[in-house]
Symmetry: C2
Subunit: 424 residues, 2 copies
C-alpha cells in the first residue's frame, strides 16, 4: 500500500528539527497531559504534540466517522477500535492539516496556539489500556545465543523453534511507560548445586531489546486470522523493554515458563508508530528452512528495517551505547506471529500487546540483552564512568531508541528509558 502521508517530499509548517523522530511522515499517536488538562490523545510532530481533542472540537476532523470526543480519553483504545477504515484516513487528514501548503490550522492563530503543545510541557502516559500481553521469542540469533550458553552449542535451537513462532503470555498489569522507574525484584534463586533456594534481590536484572505491536479490532473466539489478514489488525509499534531477572527465571521457569522473572515490569515507549508509517521500511526476512506449515506461509514482506540501540547511563554519568540491533533481525514476522496466535481460535482484542522477543543481530555488537552482550558475565562492558557491567545495577538507567531511515525520511520511536531502583 502507498499512503500520501508517507510522501518523502511532504514538509510541515510545524518546525521539525533535523534528525527528529517525528517528521510529518510519521505522526505517531500518544496520550499526554499538561498542567492545565488531563490525559488525551495527540500526535507527535517535531518537538510538539498536536492535541487531537482541539482539532476535533474545531471541526477539522469532520466526515471521518469519528465519535464525539473520541480523543478526549485517557487511552487510545476507543479510537483504535474504530478500525483502519477510520484510523488510516485520520492519519492522512492530519498530514494534510500539518502540510505547509494547508492553511486550515496554520492560518488560525488562536487554534494553532491551543492545539500545538511543546513536548517539553507535556507528560506522556501509557497510551493504551492493555488487554492481553504476549511475548514472542522470534529472533534466531537470540534463541541461538541463549541455547549456546545454557544448553548445547551444537543443538542451540530447540526442535520446535523453526516450526513455531514460540510465544507465551506475559503480565499486562505491569506494562509501564518510559520514565517509570522499576524496583529491582526480590525472589527465589538457587546457587549451582545448592539444595535450597535463597531469597533476596535479583542479582541478574537484564533488559531485553524488543519491539511490540498493538492490535486494533480482533477475531471472535474460535476464528483465526490468516497471515494475509494480519496487517488489518496491527495498529502500530512501540519499542519495548521486556525486563528480566535471569536468576529468578532460571529457578522458576520449569516447566511452565517465566513468571516472576518478567512480571515486575515491562517498559514501553510512549508513541505508537502506525503500521502505515512503517510501510516504507518493510523488507524481506530470512529464508525459512525447513518449510513452514501452510498457515504460516505468507506473501509480501512483514519484516521492518528499524535500527535499534540500547544505552546504559549509570547514576550521575553519561550514557554508553552498548548495542546496535535492527528489527529486521527476526526469523518469524508479525503476520506469522498473529496467524499462529489465533490458529487455535484464540481471540485477540484492541489494545493487546505482542512483543517480538529479544532482537539480537547475528554478530557481537548487535545483541539485545546484557546476558548476550556480556556473554553470561564473561565479557563485562565498560560504562562511561569506568565501572563495569555484567547486568544492570541499581540506579542505572537503560535507554532504548529506534528509527527507520529511507529517502531522507526518518521515522522514529522516541525512546523508552527506565531507571532500576533498589529492591524495596
Amino acid at each position: 500500500m502507498s499512503y500520501k502521508a508517507n510522501d518523502p517530499s511532504l514538509k510541515s509548517w510545524v518546525s521539525v528539527p533535523e534528525n527528529s523522530d517525528f517528521p510529518i511522515q510519521n505522526l505517531p499517536y500518544g496520550i499526554f497531559s499538561t498542567k492545565e488538562k488531563s490525559p488525551r490523545a495527540g500526535v507527535a510532530i517535531g518537538d510538539h504534540i498536536l492535541d487531537l481533542t482541539e482539532i476535533q472540537s474545531a471541526q477539522l476532523l469532520n466526515d471521518l466517522e469519528l465519535p464525539d470526543r473520541v480523543f478526549d480519553r485517557p487511552v487510545l483504545n476507543d479510537f483504535m477500535d474504530l478500525g483502519k477504515e477510520v484510523t488510516v484516513p485520520v492519519r492522512e487528514r492530519i498530514a494534510e492539516l500539518l502540510n505547509r501548503d494547508n492553511q486550515e490550522l496554520q492560518g488560525n492563530d488562536q487554534l494553532r496556539e491551543k492545539a500545538l503543545i511543546p513536548q517539553a510541557e507535556a507528560t506522556m502516559h501509557l497510551p493504551i489500556r492493555v488487554g492481553d500481553y504476549t511475548d514472542f521469542y522470534s529472533s534466531e540469533s537470540h534463541a541461538t545465543n541463549v541455547g549456546t550458553m545454557f544448553r548445547d552449542p551444537e543443538n542451540a535451537l530447540l526442535p520446535n523453534w523453526k516450526h513455531i513462532p514460540v510465544g507465551y503470555h506475559g503480565r499486562a498489569s505491569s506494562i509501564v511507560i518510559s520514565g517509570t522507574p522499576l524496583h529491582r525484584p526480590k525472589g527465589q534463586t538457587i546457587e549451582p548445586d545448592a539444595k535450597q533456594p535463597d531469597f533476596g534481590p535479583s542479582k541478574r536484572v537484564d533488559f531485553e531489546l524488543e519491539m511490540a505491536f498493538i492490535t486494533c479490532g480482533g477475531n471472535k473466539l474460535g476464528d483465526s486470522i490468516s497471515t494475509k489478514e494480519a496487517e488489518k489488525y496491527i495498529f502500530g509499534f512501540t519499542i519495548f523493554n521486556d525486563w528480566s531477572a535471569r536468576d529468578i527465571q532460571k529457578w522458576e521457569y520449569v516447566p511452565l515458563g517465566p513468571f516472576l522473572a518478567k512480571n515486575f515490569g515491562s517498559s514501553m515507549s510512549p508513541w505508537i508508530v502506525t503500521y502505515e508509517a512503517l510501510e516504507p521500511f518493510k523488507v524481506a526476512g530470512p529464508k525459512q528452512d525447513p518449510e513452514v506449515l501452510p498457515y504460516l506461509k505468507f506473501e509480501g514482506n512483514y519484516h521492518f528495517d528499524v535500527e535499534l540501540e540500547v544505552a546504559i547511563a549509570p547514576k550521575e554519568s553519561t550514557e554508553k551505547v552498548v548495542t546496535h540491533s535492527n528489527f529486521k533481525h527476526m526469523y518469524w514476522n508479525v503476520a506469522q506471529q498473529l496467524a499462529h496466535h489465533t490458529i487455535n481460535g484464540c481471540n485477540i482484542n484492541t489494545g493487546d500487546v505482542y512483543a517480538s522477543g529479544t532482537i539480537s543481530g547475528p554478530k557481537e555488537g548487535a545483541f539485545g540483552s546484557m546476558l548476550e552482550i556480556a556473554w553470561k558475565g564473561t565479557k563485562p562492558v565498560k560504562m562511561s564512568d569506568g565501572t563495569e557491567r555484567k547486568f544492570i545495577n541499581d540506579h542505572d538507567t537503560v535507554i532504548m531508541r529506534g528509527h527507520g531511515l529511507k529517502n531522507g525520511v526518518r521515522i522514529g520511536f522516541g525512546e523508552v528509558k527506565t531507571e532500576i531502583l533498589p529492591a524495596k
Copy 2:
C-alpha cells in the same frame, strides 16, 4: 472472622429447595440479563436472583457507601473495587433483607415482584472484566501424576515445586462463562520420533478441574502483599475449567510454557462465591516439608473443604461422573499464591483471576483431568452410552460442580458446563 450472614440457623423467606447451592448463607454475586433488561448484578438465592439494581433503587442499601447505580453495570468490577469495607457489609445487609424475620422487601409486594427473578428466566454473563489471568500448579497429586507419566516416577516433582507455588500467565481474553461452547483447537503436534510436526485438530482435548479466586483492589507496582494481607484482596471463588490440548502443549511448551494449548478457552462458573461465605469451610493444608521461605509462611487456614465433581455427557446421552475431588487437595494455599505472585512487586488489580491448577486428590477416583483419570490413555473411561473416553470428544459436554457442606449448610458454586464443538 465470623459473619452473621453465615449463621446456620438463618432462613430466608425466599423458598430455597433442599440441596440448593444457594441458601441465604451463600449469596454469591453474578451478572444476569432478562428479556426486558440488560446485564446487571444480582445475588443467587434458591432458584431465584435478587436484582441488586432494584434493591438499591428502592433505597434498601443506603448507608453502605455505595456509588449510585453501582450494580447497574455489565460487570462486577466497580463494586468489587470498593473493597471489603463496603462489600462485606453489603452481603450482611442482603442477608438481613432476605431473612424470614425481615419485612422490608418481603412485605413490599410490588418491589418483591420486580426484584426476585427466577434463574430460569435469566441469562448469566461473565461477571467480571478480567484483568490478568494467572494459572497456578498447586496440587501435589496432579504434579506428581504428570511427572510420573512424562518424566520419572522416582523424581516426579521438579526441584522447584516444593519451594515455589509454580504459576504462569494465561490468556484473559478467552475466559468464557459456563454454557459457552468452545471449538476444538487446531494446532501443531508431533508424533514420537517424527521430524516434522503435523497440523490439524487436537486429538487430546482435556479438562482441568480447578478453582479460581478473583481479586478486589490491589497493590502498587513495586509493593508486595503478605500472606497475612492476602484475604483482604480475595473477593471470591468460582469453579474453573482450564481446557488443555495435551498434544499441542507437548510440542510447544519448551522452553517458555503452554500457549496455544490453553488459550483457546477457559470456562468459569457464573456465580462468585465470596471469600466470606467460604469462611466456615477453611481447613488446614498439608504440612509443608521442606520448610518454606519466610515470605511463604502463614498463620491460620487458607485451604477450603469444597467437594468437586466432573461429569461428561456425550451428545444425546446422560452424564457420567468421572471424578470426585476436593479443593482442599492443594499443597500451596491461596494466601501463599498471592504472596508469591507479588513478592517481586508485580501489581494485581480488581478482576484478576487466579486459577489453582488441576486439583487432583491423592487416589484414583479423585484425579482432576482425563490425562490422569484415563492414565495417558491406558485406562479408558466408559460413558453412559457405552462409548469410551481417553480425552474429550466433539459434542461432549463437560460439567463441573462444587459445594461445601457443614452444619447443614450447603454453600455451592452452581456449575460450569461446556460443550466441545468440532474444529472450525
